[in-house]
Amino acid sequence: MSIRLKASDYRRIVEHARSGLPNETCGLLAGRREGDVKHVEKVYPLDNPDACPEHFSIPPGAQLEAIRDMRALGLSPLGNFHSHPSTPARPSDEDINLAYDASASYCILSLAGKEPALKCFRIERASRATAEEPVAIITY
């Protein structure tokens, strides 16, 4: 699978991550699947109740509110994103341990370098296998 993300949505994810520093930030991605491509149509920046530089969580209650909006718009949940304020954009052991949905995209925005770096993955929790999903940032 690959992911197409509007530049404006990418900027929203980056701004959310920067505004939440030093803590990790998080959110949901919604859109539609076409063949092997996930088209992100809307991002949902959410609060990180952990309020921590090293952890994030998105409880089901926060997800349900966003999913109601997705359904009303005819969109599907595609995955989630979170930031790594000071580490690379790769799934940590904890990210893998808590990846319960093998169909979801798990996107990580790293702020560790000069420029933000976004990478997305599918994660098979049982086998601990990760597969990077290429991200195309689209300017309309």
Binding site: E24, C26, D50, C52, P53, E54, H55, F56, S57, I58, P59, P60, G61, Q63, L64, I67, R68, M70, R71, S76, N80, H82, H84, P85, S86, T87, P91, S92, E94, D95, N97, L98, A99, Y100, D101, A102, S103, A104, Y106, R125
Partner: protein
């Protein structure tokens, strides 16, 4: 009966409960799934007793989290 499951209306046998729906939908890692039935969360211990009726809406959610 028609249920809307994960946003998609589909036909299901009458009188099934959430446990059976989870089986029919082949829900991944069912021990970790959280179920919202008509926008209200159902405790996992209540899946057997939650008999579904025509028009119900069901969402399957997973805890999301992680860290560096």
């Amino acid at each position: 009966m028609t249920l809307t499951v994960a946003g998609t209306p589909k036909e299901y046998p009458d009188g099934i409960n959430l446990t059976r729906l989870i089986e029919l939908e082949k829900v991944e890692t069912p021990m970790y799934v959280t179920v919202a039935l008509n926008d209200a969360f159902v405790e996992s211990g209540g899946f057997e007793a939650a008999v579904l009726k025509d028009g119900d809406t069901v969402e399957f959610l997973y805890f999301m989290g992680g860290g560096r």
